[in-house]
Amino acid sequence: MPYKFIEDIAVADVAFEVTGKTLEELFESAALATTNVMIRNLESIKPKVKKTVKIQASDVENLLHKFLSEIVFLKDAKRLVFISYKLKIDEKKNSLEAVLYGDKLDRNKQIHIVDVKAVTWHLFKVEKTQKGWRAQVILDI
């Protein structure tokens, strides 16, 4: 998996590290990791509903933060969780367009774990590596 949960840097919250060859891969994996904190069996989410998202940010970290915050927002406001992400990121303009595919929250179909309240800025980082990109995220539970 292109993301892994980190055990001991956040006592009350959940931390994960994510990698991607491209920014698009990085963002998709970070969104899946965030969803995986809430739902154990990601494969239970079917791509039934389509949602389009456009985000403009001040830099690439801000862009990832806003994108993940949007995933958390849609979970409450529309009760939607997503399994597939078609992303187009403009690195120079710090903007993205995404088409998200997913389904309504449903405890009869999905195994729910714990709600995510917010994406924190604590030890939040996006950086370019030799192999592509990596990021570290701590979610408030």
Binding site: A12, V114, T120, H122
Partner: protein, 492 residues
């Protein structure tokens, strides 16, 4: 090793008393005031070092007065540690920071008495918990039965529990038993984003998840430690009480997210404030951004009061249905409702002068002492009730506020027992299904939305709540009144 981490060093503490430890300003560059940790030596030694890094970061914020403080249940979080208390002087550049309140604005506790005893409730415990589980939605992204449009939800945000009572969800007397009478004045929904309103409007009457819960508890006669205060609060030997813990749900979380973003945009460029952690993003209290956040944050406070009010209504319905008596005849009266994630303007004497300060409490409970006019008249002789949720396995507490808290900690004490183990580690170490079976054998029936969620909240993931309470009691920042033991639990 995570690729982003900080190395922490343990401070050299100056011992003020057995339960008060000071970190001098020489510990870290930029500290404007010393740090005080209110805890036993055992707790201080066992705390994760990130707590001290975070609370000393708080000590660098502009306008901070006297000390940055950490309560005995302290553990690391983001921005402030959980259990962090700090007051800022607006006349001296004092700031307001969402990181000193938490995303879950007015996360808090409510306690309800009954005139039932263990003998009355024991045979019905499963039915009661199952019924409560149906009536009080819990878990990921849950919505409630209380259907509101955006305009109605704005009213909730501006008038709090009063709105719920007007709709018939509660008794008039519930309001005077709620901090701020359930309606924090100055809330302005025009300062809240459409997104926050959209996110929160379906969630009034829902518990949430994580460490949020609703519990049926028992008062063993030997667990009453202060007869006078217990009597004033309506607590009797062998009584059954109901306690629950929840906050402002997605509404508060979105307000926090929105304003952190805003503050990060202006803090350095407009106000020249340097911070050591992005989660400490702040703005001067007396600035347009600071005032906007204060008015929006109050909306979060009110939504949470309304949320707990509607949940109380559902509890009264559930008990009435199962016990086949009216809520009135069952004596389902509120003891009190306390917030533990807030910032408020409060008056304190500083160097002989009475000042209005912005008191931040993040995972800390207001604990006003006897005689304080903010305490309801019927409790004023014993002090404000302070409700402390422990882990679902070990028990919870009711304390009384003290003059000692007003003098030492801006009228604050602990809020819970405090985590010691990360959620990921707890999930690996404990099996939720087995834990539920073990608890059942010990007479505690738990109904949860997920087994992983149960494992995360296992008793050993928390500090010993009794040790935390003893530290607060010895430090004089609250007084032990009664300990409650769990019988049944709805776990979010």
């Amino acid at each position: 090793m995570p690729f982003v981490h900080r190395d922490f060093s343990k401070p050299e503490f100056k011992k003020i008393s057995d339960v008060i430890w000071e970190v001098p300003t020489s510990f870290k560059q930029g500290m404007r005031v010393p740090v005080r940790v209110f805890a036993s030596k055992g707790i201080v030694d066992a705390m994760d070092l990130q707590v001290y890094d975070q609370i000393t970061n708080v000590a660098t914020l502009p306008g901070i007065v006297r000390h940055a403080m950490c309560m005995p249940d302290g553990h690391s979080g983001y921005g402030f540690p959980i259990g962090g208390v700090a007051a800022f002087d607006p006349e001296n550049g004092g700031v307001i920071s969402p990181g000193g309140i938490g995303f879950d604005i007015n996360c808090g506790m409510r306690l309800i008495t009954t005139n039932l005893t263990l003998k009355d409730v024991k045979p019905h415990i499963k039915e009661l918990i199952d019924n409560l589980f149906e009536r009080v939605p819990a878990g990921v992204g849950e919505s409630g039965f209380f259907k509101l449009n955006v305009q109605q939800f704005r009213e909730v945000a501006e008038t709090g529990a009063e709105y719920a009572i007007k709709q018939g969800y509660g008794w008039e007397e519930d309001l005077e038993r709620t901090e701020e009478n359930g309606n924090m004045k100055g809330a302005d929904a025009s300062k809240v984003s459409e997104k926050a309103l959209e996110r929160g409007k379906k969630q009034v009457g829902t518990l949430g998840s994580g460490n949020h819960y609703l519990e049926i508890q028992h008062v063993k006669p030997e667990n009453i430690f202060d007869q006078e205060a217990a009597k004033a609060y309506g607590i009797l030997p062998d009584q059954i009480v109901i306690m629950f813990h929840c906050g402002s749900r997605g509404f508060g979380h979105q307000i926090g997210t929105d304003y952190l973003e805003k503050f990060l945009g202006v803090m350095q460029s407009k106000y020249k404030i340097q911070i050591l952690d992005k989660e400490l993003a702040c703005a001067p209290f007396n600035s347009p951004e600071g005032q906007d956040y204060f008015a929006a944050m109050k909306c979060g406070i009110n939504m949470s009061f309304a949320n707990r009010q509607v949940i109380l209504h559902r509890i009264r319905e559930a008990f009435s249905k199962v016990m086949k008596q009216s809520a009135e005849s069952l004596g389902l009266k509120m003891v009190y409702d306390v917030a533990h994630n807030t910032a408020k303007i409060e008056k304190y004497r500083v160097d002989g002068e009475v000042k209005e300060l912005v008191v931040h409490r993040k995972g800390a409970t207001r604990a006003l002492g006897p005689g304080n006019p903010e305490v309801p008249s019927f409790y004023r002789h014993v002090g404000q009730p302070v409700i402390i949720g422990g882990s679902m396995e070990t028990g919870s507490w009711l304390l009384a506020g003290t003059k000692g808290a007003e003098e030492q900690t801006w009228g604050s004490t602990c809020h819970g027992s405090g985590r010691t183990m990360s959620r990921s580690r707890a999930t690996r170490m404990f099996d939720g299904r087995k834990l539920l079976q073990d608890m059942m054998k010990r007479g505690i029936y738990v109904k949860a939305t997920s087994f992983e969620g149960v494992a995360e909240e296992a008793g050993p993931a928390y500090k010993d709540v009794d040790e935390v309470i003893n530290a607060a009691h010895i430090a004089g920042i609250s007084k032990r009144v009664v300990k409650f033991l769990p019988l049944g639990n709805v776990k979010g």
